[in-house]
């Protein structure tokens, strides 16, 4: 049993669990969309005084902030109890491609080239994290949702707007990966 917990789980179980989360949320009168939390946090920070967009009924989104706290705890629980500290087993082709950009083979789950504390205090390292974050936050709000809201919730209702959003996600992701990375990580 312990072995099962620590080793990688079959990929299809993930889909079932995410599905369960989505439908449990629906059952309890909510919907699965994580990026709303970013907006709620702005509202809680009092930014409703600066922009009308953040004046809304925050109490109705309290459940989602609690969900966010749970997600942090979930990450912690996995690290302590459910992981075996082996490097992420990505495709050799990816390792080779990333090697061309200056990334060493994975030693854990995240590249130290981007996420180590040392890099955090370098100007370029900090800017990459900041820019990545700003674009995720700005883009998610502009599109009215992120992966959970559009790719999962929206597509399951076969909403064309969500399909457009997912097309956008990929357009952006591909441009960054195949073009901009060559400039950023040369």
């Amino acid at each position: 049993m312990i072995q099962f917990l620590i080793e990688p789980w079959p990929w299809w179980i993930s889909g079932i669990i995410i599905l369960a989360i989505m439908f449990l949320l629906i059952y309890f009168g909510q919907s699965f969309g994580f990026s709303s939390n970013l907006r709620t946090i702005c509202a809680v920070a009092g930014l409703g005084k600066k922009a009308h967009f953040f004046n809304f009924n925050r109490k109705s989104q309290l459940w989602n902030l609690v969900f966010l706290v749970g997600a942090i705890i979930g990450g912690f629980i996995t690290k302590i109890y459910l992981s075996n500290d082996l490097p992420v087993q990505i495709s050799q082709k990816t390792i080779d491609d990333l090697g061309q950009l200056g990334f060493s083979a994975p030693e854990s789950v995240q590249p130290s080239e981007l996420f180590s504390i040392k890099v955090l205090f370098s100007l370029k390292g900090f800017l990459i994290l900041a820019l990545g974050g700003v674009m995720v936050g700005f883009g998610a709000r502009y599109a009215g949702g992120c992966t959970s809201g559009h790719a999962i919730s929206g597509l399951s209702d076969i909403q064309v707007p969500s399909l457009l959003a997912v097309i956008g996600f990929f357009a952006g992701g591909l441009v960054m990966t195949f073009l901009l990375f060559l400039i950023i990580f040369s």
């Binding site: 990688p8 994580f34 690290k79 700003v134 597509l155 956008g168 441009v175 960054m176």
Partner: protein, 137 residues
Amino acid sequence: MKFVKFLIFGIVFGIVMAKYEAFSWYRIQEMFRFQAFHMYGIIGTAVTLSVLGVAIIKKFNLRDFHGNPIIFYPKERLVTRYLIGGTIFGLGWALSGACSGPMVVNIGYGYLAMVVVFLFAIIGTYLYGVIKNKLPH
């Protein structure tokens, strides 16, 4: 307390994101390079099954816990905001390796540099709120 269940759902979400490495920058790179099935398997199974689930809910007019009919509100029939907003999001997703949820899961897992990413995601959200009336939707 009615919020306990949402905490539990969040914890399970966090565990799945971490356990399946969906929060890993490497996995997102693999996804955008189409070099593995992994991320497509995770998102694909969730979407395929939930399409069925939504269809069942609609067909049988299922109700939620409170007895209310479950309604799926259609999103605004626009184009520009989804394409441009989505593209900007995608740029950020590939650069940081994290979308909104996995950002915080990373923080719980111990990657404190993600606090910067998360903070700036909030700033990005604020920026949208301030300039949205000048943006095409």
